[in-house]
Amino acid sequence: MSNTPIKGNVAYYSWVGFLALVIALGFAAYLRQLDQGLTLTGMGRDVSWGVYIAQFTFMVGVAASAVMLVLPYYLHDFKHFGRIVVLGEFLAIAAVVMCLLFVVVDMGKPMRVLNVILYATPHSMLFWDFIVLNGYLVINILCGHVALTAEKKSVPPPAWIKPVIYLSIPWAFSIHTVTAFLLAGLPGRHLWLTAILAPRFLASAFAAGPSLLILLALLVKKVANFDAGKEALSKLTTIVIYAGLANFFFVGLEFFTAFYSNIPSHMHSLQYLYFGLDGKGALVPFMWVSTLLGVGALFFLLFPQTRKNEKFLALACAALFISLWIDKGIGLILAGFIPNPFDEVIEYAVTANEVAITLGIWAIGALILSMLYRAAITVKKAWED
């Protein structure tokens, strides 16, 4: 690509400077965590995964959502995604990098991270997640880079990239499926021990990711004067609606199975999340906000009058994104540990240090995204006027 990501106007530099600051703070917080240990987090004996793994799970979904552009564009020849398919791939790159970082900061011994390869263990789902995530990163970097380079030269992309692009489609599904398998295969964690966890993940991913893409598309239209096109946005909105509906349908299924069967261990985590358990319910307000935002957004998106209005579309997408972020990026992981194996409700409270690291990683993601988008849009716009 070119030097374009590092040239820019005042607004861009301020944005990059701001991100750099957040990253620096996050890095300082991480150094502190390296020095003093994960005791600085809100995690403990009972809730042993917290905001890091929750963000990781959520971002895997965002990463996987690139397939919602690649698939219609390459398999169904939906031409309108031509302008933004690379934006999806670049979003995937930023999201996967964030995923990897979230896993690393969660590790007690990050210096031993390569043990995952040195002592490759196929019966561990984490090993497979390591493989699929890194593979997905490579595939997306390759596809994005090759496509953009070809576009820059204004020559057709080389033929060998086609199979790689096709490979990226099942691969995107695999990253979220394997991530679901991390959780769904654990005995005694009943919230996760469900066969529809993978479909649930995919549904929420294909709602959250494209929502974010719509928001980003509207943003670059505003700040970079790069229009994704009405058709593309409308198609993305359709995807968001169907995936969002599927997501809430799946949540409903979980409720039915747990509460109709009336098996306490299946109900407990859901009870904790939505109604509180043993008098404790720190997440209850979040979950209801999530439900209201999600259902509300979907309701309004169903009407053409409202979803055709860009302001409203942005609002609905933001609401849905936040809703799903709360659902998957907070609730799902934490409540898996609540109640604990002794049926005690011990809650998790995030700490400032943890938040700083989390924000740092988000900022890294945003920085990567900004730089990649800038490069992509420069190339794209070079051929239009």
Binding site: M1, M111, V113, L118, V155
Partner: protein, 340 residues
């Protein structure tokens, strides 16, 4: 092919010589004392000599590379890094050039596509590989101060901690391959050298321009890296004995009784060869980069007169001579004249 293979054979031979010289002939004093002293002395003297030989030639004209807007009208933003107007800009430019290879960062690759049409795509691979190689080399060299200096300097444990952050300790049934853990720079330098080598061989442009002497140092440094890594990770040697030997050398009473494993002498011989070879080769770019007039001069020649010590006196065709030749013609069209 000859220029690719000959230096390889040469380096292998050098390794064999050191191995046979020590393990076979027992010439420990030669390989452990005499050659290292000789090589180091050659390096210091040769390096100094080369720098001074450059310094002995003046810089007659101020010709910096102006790769950006020069300082001109006050309201036009000058690019101090690419076209520095004074010492601060020059220092910053040199710093970025020496430590971060800034010029290579803008490298691009041209290709001709049907049309014909030329297209250029940014290519940062040389920059990255070069940076990784040089920085790894520097860090590895600095880490060796644990051997060179009797009291381990403060920066060594610091570098070791960062470089060895990843505990890459791998055990298999045949061999505990890496204990102590793998240094990142050890792996990175190997990757970077391999890339630089492959690039020389596979890129037809670079293969065309490459000389035998471009491959030789690559192989030699690769040899140093490989023997060093073998010593650390596989064919263990007594590092205390090695340090004792080095300390006896730097304290100027060489202990000829010390014998370390042959791999150590192969490593040392490679290093000695490199040190000896350095001042006479392109490797002097390490010193030369500081001396390059196109980069270490400010672009201020219209504001400040640059002096050429050998500015020749030239006889010019003066106006008087000119008027002499053309007086009539000038007069005819009414041009003012000095002498009527």
């Amino acid at each position: 092919m000859k220029k690719i293979i000959t230096p390889f054979v040469l380096v292998v031979l050098l390794g064999l010589i050191a191995w046979f010289g020590t393990a076979g002939l027992g010439l420990y004093t030669l390989f452990g004392v005499v050659l290292p002293y000789g090589a180091f002395a050659t390096f210091i003297v040769g390096f100094t000599f080369k720098i001074l030989s450059w310094a002995k030639s003046p810089v007659p004209f101020r010709i910096p590379t102006t790769a950006g807007q020069a300082k001109s009208l006050t309201w036009i933003k000058p690019n101090e890094l690419e076209s520095p107007s004074g010492a601060p800009g020059v220092l910053a430019r040199m710093f970025l050039e020496v430590f971060f290879f800034r010029s290579l960062l803008r490298n691009s690759r041209a290709s001709m596509v049907k049309g014909p049409r030329l297209v250029y795509v940014s290519d940062k691979s040389l920059w990255l590989a070069g940076l990784v190689f040089h920085w790894s080399f520097l860090i590895i060299f600095l880490r060796h101060y644990r051997i060179f200096a009797e009291q381990v300097p403060f920066f060594v444990p610091l570098l070791e901690a960062v470089d060895g952050f990843f505990e890459i300790v791998w055990y298999n049934e045949i061999h505990a391959v890496t204990l102590p853990g793998l240094y990142l720079t050890d792996a990175l330098i190997l990757v970077a050298l391999t890339f630089l080598f492959l690039r020389r061989v596979l890129d037809t442009k670079v293969r065309f321009i490459s000389l035998l002497q471009d491959y030789f140092p690559l192989y030699l440094i690769l040899g140093i890296v490989i023997t060093g890594s073998l010593m650390r990770y596989n064919l263990k040697v007594d590092v205390i004995a090695a340090k004792n030997l080095v300390q006896s050398l730097v304290h100027f009473h060489p202990d000829t009784s010390i014998q370390v494993g042959s791999i150590f002498y192969v490593h040392l011989f490679f290093v000695s060869t490199l040190a000896f070879y350095f001042p006479f080769s392109k490797l002097m770019h390490a010193g030369g980069v500081f001396m390059s007039p196109t980069r270490n001069l400010a672009n201020n020649s219209r504001a400040k007169r640059h002096i050429n010590p050998w500015n020749p006196t030239i006889k010019i065709r003066t106006y008087a001579e000119y008027e002499e030749d053309y007086r009539d013609k000038m007069k005819a069209v009414g041009l003012p004249l000095e002498k009527e």
